[in-house]
């Protein structure tokens, strides 16, 4: 049983160690790295799916590491939500491993060998976050995730000033987020005396008054907010994500902010269930502002990755809005939105990378006429773009539908109307990219596109289509996850 829970982390660890041992820093990495990495991610995906199936059947799995009993030792807690997140993130990792070019001109020679193993190390942190049942353990997995992401982000550093500056901002602001998280942990431990999440959920309302909980909440909201890039804490994202290489941007865009949203959805209902009705209006307002500002800023950008980075922020707003409603429908909507968005966003970044490879530049004005030169890219671009904009039958339509329905049910009319308007603006941005890249006078195609990269993008596009077509099958799962999260919010789940 514990093997299923720990397998993704162990796989990522073993693969990372192996890959880094065969890559000499001063020479090109072995040409078969991507085979090992893809194999590892496929196995991680398999174990994630097995975990999801198991936890849907028998409920959450709790593992007490080292045999120490629950509130005293470190507990790992895996439920259906964890399983779903592990599966989807492994899928994106698989696509990234396939998508990475064997040799990238944008990365320094002596760092080429680091990319595949670092992505594995990144995933140790990612999978660890999804199964953490203890607050400090969550912090440690976040740090594992963070340091790998720092290094991946700086790989292009010496070749581009933007990359160095963007990476510095990313590093410093995320260190601030870690600091806030750590201070929050210290305060919680001092007052409540335990760090086990389930135990805190029981003890918090007994030990702390509402006023004191409200003093604690900003630390966690700010820490997770910086990681999730909500308003007004998102400014590091558009400065750093566009500067990285397309494959790494896509990986980050799909996964890192969603890990922050996962932490929000896991920790806040458990810890602050008592004051959730006070926090809810604030978080709803932040979600609405995030949605609007993200998409408004995206409309002004002229480079593909910058537009997409602002769209990450806007879509995070949808998830935070749905989550903050606190209803079963809202939590289910946020879960489904996570599944849809992780894949769609990573896919869009990868396709944007294909455009950049074709034309040599990321800017919209340098592209054109791809419909005549490479029509299959159009077929690959449509699913994630229309999914993001919310067109049926892609996954985004159902995700947005669930969010709108939960907004109407909770009588948040401003948020619902904002969500609809933001959807139209998202469609505008996607058609702007389509217009610039596929229509218009044909621009000479300068670069090749690898078959592996097309395979990676097709995999993710197929998922966006499949998730939309299989909505009726996946919706009950999302509803079950939403129900479990709602139970933790309403203190009916006793340990």
């Amino acid at each position: 049983m514990s093997l299923i829970v720990l397998a993704p982390i162990l796989l990522a660890f073993v693969t990372g160690i192996f890959l880094i041992s065969v890559s000499h820093p001063l020479s090109k990495p072995p040409r078969w790295s991507w085979i090992i990495a893809s194999l590892s991610f496929s196995l991680q995906l398999l174990f994630g799916l097995i975990l999801t199936a198991k936890t849907l059947e028998i409920g959450a799995i709790q593992i007490n590491v080292g045999g120490w009993a629950a509130p005293y030792g470190i507990a790992l807690y895996a439920d259906a939500f964890s399983g779903l997140m592990i599966s989807v993130c492994s899928l994106v990792g698989l696509a990234a491993a396939l998508y990475l070019p064997t040799y990238s001109a944008r990365v320094l020679q002596l760092r080429q060998g680091l990319i595949h193993p670092l992505i594995q190390f990144l995933f140790i942190g990612v999978h660890g976050t999804f199964i953490a049942g203890d607050l400090f353990n969550l912090y440690v997995w976040f740090e594992v995730l963070l340091i790998s992401s720092f290094i991946l982000l700086t790989l292009a550093g010496n070749l581009e000033k933007r990359a160095t500056r963007g990476a510095l901002k990313y590093v410093v602001i995320n260190l601030l987020s870690s600091f806030l998280f750590l201070v929050g942990i210290a305060l919680v431990y001092a007052k409540v005396g335990t760090l086990n999440l389930q135990d805190i959920a029981v003890k918090m309302p007994q030990v702390l008054s509402d006023h004191e909980q409200l003093l604690l909440a900003p630390f966690f909201v700010a820490a997770f907010g910086i990681k999730s890039a909500i308003f007004p804490l998102f400014f590091w994202l558009p400065d750093s994500y566009p500067t990285a290489t397309p494959s790494i941007s896509g990986l980050f865009a799909g996964i890192l902010t969603k890990v922050g949203v996962y932490a929000f959805m896991r920790v806040i209902p458990l810890m602050f269930a008592g004051i959730f009705d006070i926090l809810s209006p604030l978080l709803v307002a932040l979600g609405i502002l995030t949605m609007i500002i993200g998409v408004a800023a995206a409309a002004t950008r002229k480079s593909i990755r910058e537009i997409l980075s602002f769209h990450i922020i806007s879509q995070i707003g949808y998830m935070i809005f749905a989550f903050s409603l606190g209803t079963k429908a809202g939590l289910a909507a946020a879960t489904f939105y996570l599944l849809h968005h992780i894949v769609a966003k990573a896919n869009l970044f990868f396709i944007g990378g294909l455009f950049e490879q074709s034309f040599g530049s990321d800017r919209l004005e340098d592209q054109g006429g791809l419909l005549k030169s490479k029509p299959y890219l159009a077929l690959l671009f449509i699913p994630p773009a229309m999914a993001l904009a919310g067109m049926p039958p892609f996954s985004g339509f159902f995700a947005k539908l669930l969010v709108l329905q939960s907004g109407l049910e909770a009588k948040e009319l401003i948020g619902t109307i904002a969500a609809v308007i933001v959807g139209f603006f998202t469609l505008y941005s996607m058609t702007k990219i389509w217009n610039a890249t596929f229509w218009g006078p044909v621009v000479e195609v300068k670069g090749r596109i690898g078959k592996r990269q097309v395979a990676a993008v097709s995999l993710l596009s197929a998922f966006s289509v499949g998730l939309g077509l299989c909505f009726l099958g996946v919706n009950p799962i999302a509803e079950q996850v939403g129900h479990e999260l709602w139970l933790s919010l309403n203190q009916e789940a006793s340990p």
Partner: protein
């Protein structure tokens, strides 16, 4: 003793945050360093600096005595120190590379939008 630690937290957080917000990259690094010290001090304060003995079960006892210091707190602080040490090492290497690339210590004056400018032939 508690008062001294609280004053230390106060000073390190103030210095840390103001250094973090400064223009010079080197001061930003110092800010990160101070903030990590601040976090460690908060962890130390929050988990009881007033205890007397070490967190070791004596040879004649079965369980930890009540005056012993909290071992979990020590573990938390150690982990936090080690993690911030690793981060600081990386950040120093990154800052050195940034200085070589940007040729200046100040991030904002090195702003170049040449990815947005058109090529001037």
């Amino acid at each position: 003793m508690n008062a001294l630690i609280i004053i230390a937290i106060w000073i390190t957080s103030f210095v840390g945050i103001s250094c973090l917000l400064s223009r010079s990259l080197f001061r930003t690094l110092l800010g990160v360093l101070f903030l990590s010290h601040c976090a460690n001090l908060i962890l130390f304060l929050m988990t009881g600096p007033k205890s007397a003995s070490a967190a070791i079960i004596g040879s004649s006892a079965e369980t930890l005595s009540l005056e012993a210091s909290d071992p979990l707190a020590q573990a938390l602080i150690l982990t936090a120190i080690v993690i911030s040490f690793g981060f600081l090492a990386f950040l120093l290497a990154l800052a050195r590379e940034a200085f070589e690339v940007l040729q200046t210590d100040e991030l904002e004056t090195a702003h170049d939008h040449d990815h947005l400018k058109k090529e001037q032939h």
